[in-house]
């Protein structure tokens, strides 16, 4: 009995140390640079994270106000990503629809569907109160079948998500982006403020 207790005393601190080590922030994000540097979302780190939810953006302008419905100037999406801290996500998915008339391709609204999520990193230099992430991978343009790389800037800035949280996407290969790099807009550049929905950042392991 005494031996068991001694063994427990010996093993417990090692366990605690291992858990603490596994949750420790690890620098040197591995995300590829597919665009030019931005005002925010410049400092990243590999850390366990999860961010989920969906929403609506009225872009342009990407502010907290909805455009007139008849303008059809809005985008809707669902997206999630989960990473255990190595910047190489275990899970993730993006579904994006742009309802703007000028983005109708082959008679349908632009529809982007992720095929692989290849990186995810926490952004540590934003104003997003609950957490932010930069993640991406490859997607298929459903209208054409074309494959392309993409990146998103994902911001959880409290509750409710509408008027607070933000999201932005860039697909350089097809010249497409919904980004709002206006320093006067909340919550943080370059994310466009949600006019519906919610983003929920889960600081896993923290």
């Amino acid at each position: 009995m005494v031996r068991l207790r001694s063994l427990g005393l010996l093993v417990a601190p090692i366990g605690v140390a291992l858990v603490a080590w596994s949750c420790d922030r690890q620098p040197n994000a591995l995300a590829p640079t597919i665009g030019t540097p931005l005002a925010h979302f410049n400092e990243f780190q590999c850390t366990p994270l999860k961010i989920t939810g969906g929403g609506r953006i009225d872009y342009p302008p990407g502010s907290a106000e909805k455009n007139p419905p008849a303008s059809h100037l809005y985008e809707t999406f669902g997206a999630h990503v989960m990473d255990d801290g190595d910047c190489s996500p275990e899970k993730g998915s993006l579904e994006w629809v742009d309802h703007r008339p000028e983005w109708r391709i082959n008679g349908q609204p632009l529809n982007l569907h992720s095929t692989a999520i290849t990186f995810a990193e926490e952004a540590v230099d934003t104003d997003c109160s609950d957490g932010a992430a930069h993640w991406g991978g490859t997607l298929r343009v459903q209208n054409t079948g074309e494959e392309a790389e993409f990146e998103v800037f994902d911001c959880d800035n409290g509750e409710p998500g509408v008027g607070h949280d933000g999201f932005a996407i860039r697909v350089p290969a097809i010249g497409y982006e919904v980004m709002c790099p206006d320093p006067d807009l909340p919550p943080a550049e370059p994310a466009c403020t949600l006019t519906g929905g919610n983003r929920q950042f889960h600081p896993t392991h923290r």
Partner: protein, 217 residues
Amino acid sequence: MRIDTFRRAIRLLGLVLPMTVLASSAQGQAYGIAVKTNTVNQKLTSVVLPAGEGTASNQDQSASVPGFVTAQDLFAIVSGDPDATDGSTAVSSATLGAVNLLNGLITADGVVAMASSSGDDAGVNSNAAGSSLANLVIGGSEVSDPAPNTRMNLPGVGYVLLNEQLPSGDGVTTSGMTVNMIHVVLQQPILGLLGQVTGYRTVGDIVVGSAKSSVSR
């Protein structure tokens, strides 16, 4: 005695804590069109949030339930995560382009139904922010930006609920929202012995643009 009480308390905690974790949930579903009558029961462009965290979607370039509704550019997206530690969330949306109900009685050229629920230690909440109707015309008259749960009679047909919002949950540990942007309730008159109308009975429903979300913690 005190040790026994302490042990019982620990045992109870051991049972209750995992149940608390398991009790957290996030649910979402969305669809473009649903028609239910005595002879028709169809739900088109439908999607349900998968178990665990995730995103799911469905789409159709066009859809039709003959005699009731036609629509173009239908998308249904759900995304969410039941997370007992950091908070649960569920967001559902259904979007449609041009829609036509009951052979032109109701038309619109842009429908967005969006429901969002989230919950954490601070509480739970749901909303229908982001929902909208574009260029809605009913019986030849334009209806712009209808308030939640706007009801309009449709003589000979029944009535329509616009921007129908149905909250659910206790607001403390559970919260949910169902949004039906166009909900036609089909009715038939009930006739008395002398042929007079004594009331109406519901014989069917048409829903265009529906999103539902809920969380519990």
